[in-house]
């Protein structure tokens, strides 16, 4: 994996290159042993949610960051994943693990349906079109009570039957299995992002993100590669939806299908640094605690909505000072302190 890669200019400093893997090892070991020390389920739950947001934002980053297409439709995929596996489990007794895969395949189909017409649009028009799709889907889920014999319960949401500790039902009393499953999913999506980034597709997506016309002159088919990125992104986002349903054992449209969720995924990537591998992780570590804290301490203040103001202002400040994301600051800081160098890109 090349998350922690050495800048080419530094190749002659081979002895220092070895140290650049040190942060990865430290973080890896820490993350693996956290459940040994934390027994409070609420805190474990928070850790799992952090991973979950990082995972989904990494999914979004494949299309939103790499190919630069601002998709607001990603809650459609998470909802599709969550509802598909839950419906198959509740009404047909199919294991959520299989339902997860089916949900992913549905997301592939839907991403093609959304992508084919909307990828003809550019910039803000694409963003607007995906907002329309996302809102429509949420409204549909809220309104539709029943499809044939399958009750979706509209706005009330779906409650999954509790089966206790069961791998086949994807349900656990302890938070620890959820923690490790989500960790594996997160490592998986970063690995896949890394493969894409370093491949022909990655180069093509970066070209499309920067200048579609110029990329076409070099033989790049933008529609094809954007759609491919959207499909991969949608598939994995749907898997994240199923995981959420199994973690909460309850899903409702105003949560898993909401525009707010889609916007959160976008903000996380932008704060951290979109188009990079570590951006969504860094963004999550900033955004999730910040949004939890503002909600805890400010939402009961006499001025209504002050928590959202604080959150919004923070995001604006980050974007104003470093449009490429906090990742760039961290890179400078780490290379200065640990390597006494200015050019090393530790967090790619």
């Amino acid at each position: 994996m090349q998350i922690f890669k050495q800048n080419k200019l530094m190749n002659n400093e081979a002895n220092k290159a070895n140290y650049s893997y040190l942060p990865l090892i430290v973080i890896g070991v820490t993350v693996l042993i956290i459940p040994l020390f934390i027994t409070n389920p609420a805190i474990m739950h928070l850790f799992i949610l952090v991973f979950w947001f990082a995972y989904l934002s990494s999914c979004w980053n494949i299309v939103g960051g790499f190919s630069g297409q601002l998709s607001f439709a990603h809650a459609v995929f998470t909802a599709l994943g969550a509802y598909t596996s839950s419906v198959f489990f509740i009404y047909y007794g199919i294991s959520p693990w299989l339902g997860m895969l089916i949900g992913g395949l549905f997301a592939v189909g839907v991403s093609i349906l959304i992508g084919l017409p909307t990828f003809r649009l550019r910039g803000a028009y694409f963003a607007l079109a995906t907002i329309a799709v996302g809102s429509t889907f949420q409204t549909l889920l809220t309104m539709v009570d029943k499809i044939g014999n399958v009750r979706l319960w509209g706005a009330q949401g779906l409650i999954l039957p509790i089966k206790g500790d069961s791998w086949s039902a994807f349900q656990f009393r302890s938070k620890i299995p959820y923690y490790y499953i989500m960790l594996i999913m997160l490592v998986g999506i970063i690995f896949i992002s890394c493969l894409i980034k370093e491949s022909k597709m990655g180069y093509y997506l970066r070209a499309i993100a920067q200048d579609e016309d110029a990329s076409k002159a070099l033989g790049v088919n933008p529609a094809k590669y954007k759609l491919l990125a959207f499909i991969i992104s949608g598939f994995f986002a749907a898997l994240g939806g199923t995981f959420y349903a199994q973690l909460q054992l309850y899903i409702e449209p105003s949560d898993i299908a909401s525009l707010q969720l889609a916007i959160q995924l976008i903000l996380i990537s932008i704060i951290g640094g979109k188009g990079s591998l570590t951006g969504p992780l860094i963004g999550t570590l900033i955004y999730v605690p910040l949004s939890e804290l503002t909600r805890m301490y400010l939402s009961s203040s006499p001025i209504a909505g002050i928590d959202m103001v604080v959150l919004g202002a923070t995001v604006v400040i980050v974007i104003l000072f470093q449009p490429m994301g906090v990742r760039v600051f961290l890179n400078k800081w780490i290379s200065n302190i640990f390597f006494k160098q200015r050019e090393i890109e530790i967090l790619s």
């Binding site: 022909k200 180069y203 016309d213 110029a214 002159a217 070099l218 033989g219 088919n221």
Partner: protein
């Protein structure tokens, strides 16, 4: 004959940008395209390379019809172009800019990198490979634009004002590079306002005004053509050109 354009017209609403233009280009030729601003030169490039859909007319490349085909498809056939306002991938390094073009011939990034490095040396950008594209000077930017298209191994290359904004020595250097490319078998069509470059490079010149062809011939003939002098070159240039020829 590598390219044949038949009665090509482009209308934007009621405006006729290109009117019934026909043109043929032989394999290995350098064709100059000149004319005043708004004559339709860039529109012609856009229409032939797939960036604008022509209103009527047909385009053939190696006897095969390519009208209304997409630019990336044409690039894969061997037709590519540069842009008047250079279009570098600004946030990528020079090498990666060219790698993107090189990937048209291979799926392996490593191979593409090797190929890109070769081309960057041809246009004298090898030493700046790891710089960000946004940090380049105008002259380097033009050369990067050229390198990006060259790495796709074109057979037919459209150059849109690659000399604009260069100083005389940079212009000479680029003229030499273009001559070398042509010798290696690339057919070139160039739009250019720098007359020194057009006159020394082109075997044939094509003059456009208000979307129509007003003259066609060797550089010598064009410089003496009354219509061209009136519409574009001006008396002064014509006299000077004639004087230089005598010397």
């Amino acid at each position: 004959m590598i390219l044949k354009v038949q009665n090509l017209s482009v209308h934007f609403g009621k405006l006729t940008a290109l009117n019934n233009l026909s043109l043929e280009i032989e394999q290995g030729e350098i064709l100059g395209l000149i004319g005043p601003n708004g004559a339709g030169k860039t529109t012609f490039f856009n229409a032939v390379t797939g960036y604008v859909s022509p209103s009527s007319g047909k385009v053939f490349y190696e006897e095969k019809e390519i009208t209304h085909k997409q630019p990336f498809y044409l690039a894969q056939l061997g037709i590519t172009r540069t842009f008047q306002a250079t279009k570098p991938f600004k946030d990528s390094i020079i090498l990666d800019n060219v790698v993107i073009g090189a990937l048209i011939k291979t799926n392996i990034v490593k191979e593409a990198k090797k190929r890109a490095e070769e081309i960057l040396n041809v246009v004298h950008l090898g030493s700046k490979m790891h710089k960000l594209a946004r940090e380049l000077t105008v002259s380097d930017m033009k050369r990067l634009e050229l390198a990006k298209t060259l790495v796709t191994e074109p057979k037919l290359l459209f150059l849109d004002e690659v000399m604009a904004g260069l100083n005389p020595s940079e212009t000479n250097e680029l003229i030499q590079i273009i001559k070398k490319l042509n010798k290696n078998g690339i057919t070139i069509i160039l739009v250019e306002h720098v007359m020194r470059a057009v006159m020394s490079l082109s075997k044939r010149i094509f003059v456009l005004d208000c979307g129509e062809k007003i003259a066609e011939g060797t550089p010598e003939e064009i410089s003496r053509n009354k219509l061209v002098i009136k519409a574009y070159l001006g008396e002064e240039y014509a006299n000077e050109y004639a004087k230089n020829r005598k010397n």
